[in-house]
């Protein structure tokens, strides 16, 4: 089989992507910064930086630091605002053939509703992704993301206004990811994205200050991949019919395949795009090659095929 013969289509409920390799919010700018390195049209989708109703200035620096096999960030959701995005960025994204996911957030339920309303049924937006899980805000996301009831309430409030497919992006900083997933789905989410960053802290020993101005930051990169794969698998097992984006530490085609087998219908490449801005484009080809090498005709045939063994209870001597 040739890589060209592999059907890469990824179906996530109402959202159909040409392939399962998308990019993650906050790691791909507004997409247009990447046109030198990758053809936007070749990607499954691009998710843009989290948009709020008004332009947001973000947190005072330092905002990022490297950690082992990853990084911490507390950008504070700096963005140009939904209005500027729709008028200044979206037309060119559309012209370039990009499948655009608009990641959105608010400090309050009202703000969430207003951003979603502003996008309306704009067909140039393939889907809306609610970021209920950004850990870098004082009020806002955190409150919704880590409590199934609050999360359900938020999604219920937004759902009627969302006239595009609705993705809810979950926080991994919870005891029970399945409860959060269920709350979001019961409230009307079409697709779930998991995971956002884990909350972490790193300290500058000389100043005894956090390396991140906000004190804590979101941990991303290869370090978190096993946690992300586990959560995708847990949600897939509990809610087999729910379409999922897998996110967390993806760097290689093998990583993409691992998420698909765990139960993700598609993935989003995050931090690794900083290391190599051309990565996502290359992964599309490499996933096809992996499938061809392994005789997999449709990449969607991989989804959720993890074979688990029964778990034994403790045996004593």
């Amino acid at each position: 089989m040739n890589a060209g013969d592999v059907d890469l289509t990824a179906r996530l409920g109402p959202l159909v992507l040409k392939n399962p390799v998308a990019t993650a919010s906050g790691t791909f700018g507004y997409g247009l910064e990447f046109t030198d390195y990758v053809s936007l049209a070749s990607l499954g989708a691009i998710t843009v930086k989290g948009l709020s109703l008004r332009p947001c200035l973000g947190n005072p620096p330092p905002r990022i630091c490297e950690t082992d096999a990853g990084m911490l960030n507390a950008i504070g959701l700096q963005n140009i605002g939904v209005e500027a995005f729709l008028t200044e960025k979206l037309p060119e994204l559309h012209a370039r053939g990009a499948t655009v996911i608009a990641n959105v957030w608010g400090d309050t339920e009202d703000e969430f509703r207003s951003v979603v309303e502003r996008i309306g049924d704009d067909p140039r937006v393939a889907a809306i992704e609610l970021n209920v899980s950004c850990p870098n805000v004082v009020k806002g996301g955190m409150v919704f993301g880590n409590d199934p009831a609050a999360l359900g309430a938020l999604v219920s409030a937004v759902r009627p206004l969302a006239r595009r497919p609705l993705i809810v992006k979950l926080s991994p900083n919870v005891t029970d990811i399945v409860a959060c997933a269920r709350a979001a789905v019961d409230a009307g989410a079409d697709v779930l994205s998991l995971i956002n960053t884990l909350v972490g802290l790193a300290i500058d020993l000389e100043t005894r200050e956090p390396k991140i101005g906000f004190t804590t930051g979101g941990l991303s990169g290869p370090a978190i991949r096993p946690v992300a794969v586990r959560m995708v698998w847990e949600v897939r097992r509990a809610l087999p019919g729910v379409p999922l984006f897998g996110i967390g530490g993806i760097e290689t085609a093998e990583n993409v395949v691992e998420f698909l087998i765990a139960g993700a219908d598609a993935v989003q490449v995050g931090t690794a795009s900083f290391r190599d801005p051309g990565l996502a484009g290359r992964l599309v080809r490499e996933v096809a090659e992996w499938c061809a090498r392994h005789g997999v005709q449709r990449s969607s045939d991989l989804v959720g095929t993890l074979k688990t063994r029964p778990r034994a209870e403790h045996r004593y001597a």
Partner: protein, 268 residues
């Protein structure tokens, strides 16, 4: 338009335990680079360092006839350590040239400018000196370091700018004047020299003093700033400095070369 390419190491020249020059093939990055721009270099394909590191393009020249880019590096951690240990021929992923260069297009031979370097801040000033020399713009160098051996690439500066135009300050007085580089510049200004523009790169403390000094004299300036970077091309929003207008400026895209007047030094 930045290029994402892999360039081989042509040579590594060590100055001392903490400093070296890394010469890479020029690739497409080299010819496209303007003074003050930088590149993101990946040191190895491992997990430590994980992210690319930012380095000013110190010079674009030739090495034994081969077009090359030079980086001058101070070892401060895993990335700068690793980059200095690679063998000749090792392929290094390079993304560049990046960022806003020093503003020099409007300069004329009748202008006189100052180059102010603190420590490893010499790096972007070599290529700047070269371009100014090519265009005949007279430039005075003020270069401060800890001691004589930490003053790097002196022959290049003196060849490009003329030795009499190069003044040094060291902490221990082993080269030039004992004291700070900003004292050197202050002395020159006090002596009545006026500069059309001051180009500077160095540590935070130097920038602060210099910003205050230049604000007082109303001298136009461009500072090549540094900050921690994840991407280098304006998408992570990690590298920002607080601007005068309350917004944050990306050092990698709006900078690294910024007028000090654009920055809120009180909030840095």
């Amino acid at each position: 338009m930045p290029v994402n390419e892999t360039l081989r190491i042509l040579r590594t020249v060590r100055y001392d335990a903490k400093h070296y020059s890394l010469f890479l093939q020029a690739g497409r990055v080299g010819p496209a680079t303007l003074p003050g721009q930088f590149a993101m270099l990946q040191a190895g394909d491992g997990l430590r360092p994980y992210l690319r590191r930012a380095f000013s393009v110190a010079d674009v020249a030739t090495l034994a006839g081969v077009p090359c880019i030079e980086f001058v590096v101070r070892v401060v951690g895993v990335g700068t350590e690793a980059l200095g240990r690679f063998a000749e021929g090792t392929p290094i992923p390079v993304l560049g040239p990046l960022g806003t260069p020093f503003p020099i297009d409007d300069l004329r031979v009748s202008d006189r400018v100052a180059l102010v370097a603190g420590g490893i801040g010499l790096a972007p000033l070599v290529l700047l000196a070269r371009r100014l020399a090519e265009r005949g713009v007279p430039a005075d160098l003020f270069y401060g370091g800890r001691n004589e051996s930490e003053v790097l690439k002196r022959p290049d500066f003196e060849r490009l700018l003329g030795a009499p135009r190069c003044r040094y300050a060291t902490d221990d007085g082993s080269l030039g004047r004992r004291g700070l580089v900003t004292d050197l510049l202050q002395a020159a200004l006090d002596a009545g020299t006026t500069y059309r523009r001051v180009f500077a790169c160095g540590p935070q403390a130097m920038f602060r003093t210099l910003a205050a000094l230049l604000a007082r004299t109303g001298t136009d300036a461009s500072f090549a700033l540094e900050s921690e970077m994840a991407c280098g091309f304006g998408v992570c929003l990690g590298c920002v400095v607080p601007g005068r207008d309350g917004r944050f400026l990306t050092v990698c895209k709006e900078g690294p070369c910024l007028p000090p007047s654009a920055i809120d030094w009180g909030a840095v």
